[in-house]
Symmetry: C2
Amino acid sequence: MAGKFVSMRNLKFMIYEVFDAVALTKSDYYRQHNQKALDMVLDASMKLAQKKLNPLFEEMDRKAPYLEDGQVKVHPQVRPILKEFGEGGWIGATFPEAWDGQQIPSLVYCACQVIKCSSNYSAGAYMGLTSGAARLIHSFASDDLKETYLPNMMAGKWQGTMALTEPQAGSSLSDITTTATPTDKGYYLLKGQKVFISAGDHDGVDNVVHMLLARIEGAPPGVKGISLFLVPKLRVEGKGKLVPNDVAVSQVFHKMGYRGTPITELSFGDKDDCRCFLVGKPHQGLMYMFQMMNEARIGVGLGAAAIASAAYYAALEYCKSRPQGRKLGQKDPLTPQVPIIEHADVRRMLLFQRAIAQGSEGLLMQCALYEDFLHTTPKAEHERWELLLDLLTPVAKSYPSEMGILATSQAVQCLGGYGYCEDFPVEQHFRDCRIHAIHEGTTGIQGMDLLGRKVIMKEGKALKYYLEEARATIAQARDLTGLKPLAEKLEAALATLEKTTMQLAGLAMTKGAEVFLADATLYLEYFGIIAIAWQWLKQAIAAQQALDSTAKAADHNFYQGKIITARYFFAYELPKIKGLMDRLLDGDPLTVEMQSGHFSD
Amino acid sequence: MAGKFVSMRNLKFMIYEVFDAVALTKSDYYRQHNQKALDMVLDASMKLAQKKLNPLFEEMDRKAPYLEDGQVKVHPQVRPILKEFGEGGWIGATFPEAWDGQQIPSLVYCACQVIKCSSNYSAGAYMGLTSGAARLIHSFASDDLKETYLPNMMAGKWQGTMALTEPQAGSSLSDITTTATPTDKGYYLLKGQKVFISAGDHDGVDNVVHMLLARIEGAPPGVKGISLFLVPKLRVEGKGKLVPNDVAVSQVFHKMGYRGTPITELSFGDKDDCRCFLVGKPHQGLMYMFQMMNEARIGVGLGAAAIASAAYYAALEYCKSRPQGRKLGQKDPLTPQVPIIEHADVRRMLLFQRAIAQGSEGLLMQCALYEDFLHTTPKAEHERWELLLDLLTPVAKSYPSEMGILATSQAVQCLGGYGYCEDFPVEQHFRDCRIHAIHEGTTGIQGMDLLGRKVIMKEGKALKYYLEEARATIAQARDLTGLKPLAEKLEAALATLEKTTMQLAGLAMTKGAEVFLADATLYLEYFGIIAIAWQWLKQAIAAQQALDSTAKAADHNFYQGKIITARYFFAYELPKIKGLMDRLLDGDPLTVEMQSGHFSD
């Protein structure tokens, strides 16, 4: 099924016309790039996705990983793909040159990741994990560890992972019990279990390097006693000799989707010979790990947006070519049937998918741009970008993940019975996409992070910056033909956001944390819808500016399509905040007050 | 995985306390039953589900049907199960005694079907199809056909199907081309293809009897030229000799879920020897078939509600037993973790699932009760029940189907990473449930049926009856402790429903059918939410009445749980109509006006 899974035209519109990637290359940090160079990076991504990743999309699902003699076996093409990720410089694409990275703007890399993940999410996931682990090592590990582990990771020969979750603790990191006992030999001895470790073991690499959270023996309880360790599957002894490090795979999970990447349960130190290496200072592990977690959360949102995008293009292709029925009012059965894209309800379903996928891409690129600003703007501005990133990370993780479930479901719906069958890719997208609301912090966790921490931190400073950013967009839109009604709707939504947030914060004072956060997930959804409306207004501005000026005739349809999708979002999606606000302001704490015993039958 | 999949306590509450099944047995038609007899029917269902169906739930998914030498092979246990359905009288459970049926109330049968389908939807589907086909034969076929085909169908030895869809026509029945050529031998010769035929062929039965739509050669084009035929896989010649009837299986589909039932593509008359038999009059086929279609649509809604219910109980069990984290405000990591049902957000997710599953069951039982009223009330009242059934059928089909996707998704979410894996049943429920918004008329088709036909037919008479029914419930609720606020919210919602419907009907006059029906799917969603609010008010009334009178202490929690779930629905779900109404009344026909070319990239 070599159908279209991504649109280069759309991605270039986003990074160049909406977010002005070329402006970044005027900065000192990104001066080695220009548009031509960035285009080449995009083209290389596309080539890799089309030639190597997408052809394996189905096969990696059908031939899922399995455990054999203690070794996880994955699709044989995983190895050459990971090698290519390494050789192509993708693993360190955004790393500074000082780390042997390509130092390309995060904004552009974000587009590259959309391309890869939309072609084959499972294949892209291996690389993201290695990249995140390598960044963590670069940032916090000793020179010795860097020298020993980074070269092979950057080359795609060794896999990186993040090993946080434990069977008895799940999302509750304060309850992890994996223990590291100090020795006098420069390492610790590790004992414990980790579960749901993505790419935790496989035969597509020669070694696996776990970035793992554990307690040093005698550490204080809770999150204050968690340290970060590097734990290799095979440890390096002497002159590069690889020795088994007492890391065992206890199971590989059989999943509904995302089947190309093995998810494992691992056992460390069954034979009391698992050596691990402290990264950074003791008991600071969670703080370090948040670097990788935040990166991974954005990565998860991106994966969801990319899958939703791929499903959208598959549905679009089908709807353009499948004849069925006639326009309403045309009752003569002898006239030819029309392609189903001619039916208003089908268009609505397509617009929904497009609005979710490309609106989410907008928010993710917005985050990437703030990341870039940390390199291109004066230090005095950095607090702004950091706070904006902190604030938007749970939204950029959750909105695409939750709405991706619905968007891929609508793609299935567009294909009718065929959508439910393996002959078309949409059913796999639907299965694949379902993981994202779960891994790297469930939607519930993200909601509490947003409402319980991010919007109230520093007396609401992050939220204040966010409102400023959104209002700057509104000001720009007010002057453009046709966009004023959208600008006004967004302004009204922002006003409710301020009011609702204030009222909820008041609840924290009067009724306590439990009532305050009971509907944090709904607040996250509400916040997310408004954030995506903001992004669609940005895209509409760029499209309208193009139409007002130099747009070529061939692109007229593209820009009109963008404006119509923005209108769709404001007409169909933004009104959903009304019901959410109703509930958020209602204040009946029924989920807190009810007894668990009321769930009796 | 022998977990709980259904609650008998809940079903008995529904049929006896909310809908008063015992009152039905006072009627002449159902006089042979009493509560004890009905309880026995329910118990027999439960026994069958627990002993035979549920144990195969996973296995029938993992070992999906396949095609071998032109024959579809299904799980070997399908045959004994179908035999048991036949011997137990289940296939004709609601048929009149004159048809050798059990003549049990549809209301009670509905509860039985919830039990069967929640234990193993795929297993239940075989029977529903045979039952619907048999009813069609009973209603419209000649005595000769009845004698030849019904006994083995009623015994569960022959499978019934409905064969409507064709590859080139999909939902557009007016475009079917399968052709029946008359002969002078009492039969027609059939030629054509049918696709997505559930249980269209399998080795769990000795024969398959298709109820098939085709055109008699020379018939008028469109739906006015469609006739209904009985087409056996093996035709009966002479004294019961079975002869191959030139029906070939061209493929069995590989589906995402609902894998225990084979979905087939069939080819009729490749060798010009497929004999078929006209049922009823020529060119009236669609009208006859609507009997089976409406029954199947209700059956689909029921299947979705049952799956959502099964997923809910699996999630509930997990949430009660899985310790993770602590109450907010309890920051001491040395205190024990609490079961996750203690977290407000988890309770919200459970209440959502319960509200969807049991609210949907309410609407389905309401329809079943109207069906029963056709047997128990004077003829003069029948128009009322028929119109209510007509009106509510698309809602009872679609609300559970669409919301079932979200409810099973929340069940997956409750289990976190485990929910995404095959170790627990919820991921299969999520996959299984996705079919329902597609088969027996997609949600888009149901929306057009509701808004374009049902609410406007007979000058809105069906809607008028519906409003009367709902307002009778409101009047009852106003007098009960605590239910007045819910009653008032429902009244407000009904007022908007009247207003919105009027305004949309006006649009039909001024702007034409295409604009009128552009958002019919949203209208269906909007209508559905209000209908389920009505049902929850009914359940709250029955629960409050129990609490106010004779309720035993042991059941206090159950009734309180019902009232809290009703409050949940009014607080969290009903407000969603605001955003929908906003859109429905907005009037910007962007999906009609936009060009398909705007989907350019």
